[in-house]
Symmetry: C2
Subunit: 345 residues, 2 copies
């Protein structure tokens, strides 16, 4: 019996094109004989917007929905006003496909650079809520551009939305050896949203007696991320706090060139989307300097999500071995080739 | 001609008591002969709330307003529900006295510990907005405690509020040798608030042609704070982003035991309030382990705000010399005594 994976590919802008090419190479090489890969490329991003004024049409959204998963490179360019592509494309996909689990593992691989002295033992995963909070786009302004302007942004949090992501995080913590879950919020200031998060966290926790829990304010969490990142196992947090601490987590654990992410709809009602945490880095686009490792690690998350656990591990092991052995600087292509050889071998 | 400083002292909870005592010792020692210090202590915080249910009465607020400045230790205790003292006391003071400039310098002093490899050259100051943003307390929930709960938090940003703090930040940048100002926000997601901040930043910048400016998303800012903190000179940012990045800044530049802050009303319509960035640390309260240096450095900010620049520098120099010479671990008292001797000598 053979299986076909229908994958939507959105290379996007800048280095997105280059890193996605490597991700696809590795994906193709790692798949077992009886799994066929069908890809369809979607030309979305800055170029398309400049040419047509479109970010993502309803027809495209409908087509994307037919795929099993989406692989995305990076979106964004300084020539496009801030927010246009983010809200009109990237966040639109996350919201339309109900990607409520934004999964971001942090691991300090061997032989990688960290700004931290003493190379702490970093191996945790952040479960960032992906469909609520200050990201809902519920903002506006009056008297815009005048000295009397008022601009508001509303963070919307629902029991429905918080509970499902908290449950997902508990299940992940339960499945890991250390079984530790930390809630990160700011419930001493954002008391209403904080109350909902903390109560949900405590209540769902009763169903997971083996999971050790703690709570940190987001400001304190940043301190621990640099002073004692080894303390973390699984972190669950809201959309904005998750955005902030996962960039910090990436920085301390080997840099943004290694940080993978999955925008996951666990129920499988919609395709999940996998993308590196980094941006389109227009300054190095086309120079061959982009590290495709974060995209390749995102491919591992994609494989795991599709039930191909052994293949996911093979990709991750290839990255570990590749980093351990690396010496001189290599091009995007060279890294992709090295990883392709490893997963195939 | 002699002058009298009328200082309100709020020791608060936990180590607040201990560190404030040292701050006052140093303050008393550094003041010139012709400046008299009159202090009045206000018993506010967890104990008071447990005893009376009060956080801060209108009468107390009115009394506090009569002082030239306020020195605060730390507020908060795990026995008090999260948010009660923060909203009812600490934030109430910041809002009532229109502390729109929350000033938080970060400097890596000699001989201090940093989690960063290579001891970068850190010397910047964060100008955090203190009276708007998600801190306004404009939130609420419906169907609270049910599976249909919705909890919202509103970030309120006004042209009035953003412009005055941005102006303050430009003036500070202009007065520093490097003359660099970075705006930190998240204007690709929080587009309305972000638009107001960025437009104001650009417009006011035209009046400061000598100041070099740049913009960073808050997530990217956390990366630079660990990878290249030396790049920062002055940062201006909103209330919540400022809360988060100043804890991170404190962590990378010697730890929270050294981080000072001023809640400043530049116009002088209300007393400004000076406090260490750290919390009440109930776990070490009474052990003599609390480092009073952050409070002493907050006293330096207080002196500077009151026009006593030479004395402010004397306190900062004492801290630098003390840290450079420190060897064994010392108690709260011993550190306070050493600093007192230095500023008096
Ligand atoms: C590009 C931006 C909208 C996005 C976010 O804020 O979520 C990015 O920073 C990320 O973390 O994936
Ligand atoms: C205690 C809390 C309300 C406060 C804040 O969030 O501003 C603290 O973290 C700070 O930074 O002074």
């Amino acid at each position: 019996m053979s299986r076909t994976i229908s994958l939507a590919v959105i290379p996007g802008d800048g280095i997105g094109q280059e890193v996605v090419a490597q991700g696809l190479k590795v994906l193709t090489a790692v798949l077992p004989q009886d799994v066929k890969l069908e890809t369809k490329q979607y030309d979305l991003g800055a170029k398309r917007w400049h040419a047509t004024g479109e970010t993502l049409t309803d027809a495209e959204l409908e087509q994307l929905r037919q795929h099993d998963a989406i692989l995305l490179g990076a979106i964004g360019d300084p020539s496009v006003p801030s927010g246009v592509l983010e809200r009109g494309l990237l966040l639109k996909l996350r919201f339309a496909f109900d990607h409520y689990v934004n999964l971001r593992p942090s691991k300090l691989f061997p032989n990688t650079e960290t700004p931290l002295a003493g190379r702490p033992d970093i191996d945790f995963v952040v479960v960032r809520e992906g469909t609520e909070g200050p990201y809902v786009g519920n903002g506006g302004s009056i008297r815009t551009g005048t000295p009397a302007e008022v601009a508001n942004e509303v963070s919307v949090n629902t029991a429905y939305g918080v509970e499902r992501v908290v449950r997902d995080a508990y299940a992940r913590a339960q499945a890991r050896p250390r079984k530790k879950l930390t809630l990160v919020h700011k419930n001493n200031v954002l008391v209403h949203a904080g109350h909902l998060w903390k109560n949900t966290f405590d209540r769902v926790g009763e169903e997971y007696p083996e999971v050790t829990t703690d709570y940190l304010h987001v400001d304190a969490a940043t301190i621990f991320l640099v002073n004692d990142p080894a303390r973390f196992d699984v972190i669950v947090t809201d959309n904005l706090f998750g955005d902030i601490i996962t960039d910090l987590a990436a920085a301390v654990s080997g840099g943004i060139g290694l940080a993978a992410s999955g925008n996951i709809n666990p129920a499988g009602d919609f395709p999940s989307m996998f993308e590196p945490v980094h941006g389109s880095a227009p300054d190095i686009a086309g120079t061959g300097k982009a590290d495709p490792t974060a995209t390749v690690l995102s491919v591992a998350l994609l494989l795991r999500h599709l039930g191909l656990e052994a293949e996911a591990v093979r990709v991750e092991d290839a990255v570990t071995a590749d980093l351990a052995g690396r010496a001189a600087a290599r091009t995007t292509d060279e890294i992709g080739d090295a990883l392709t050889v490893r997963v195939a071998g």
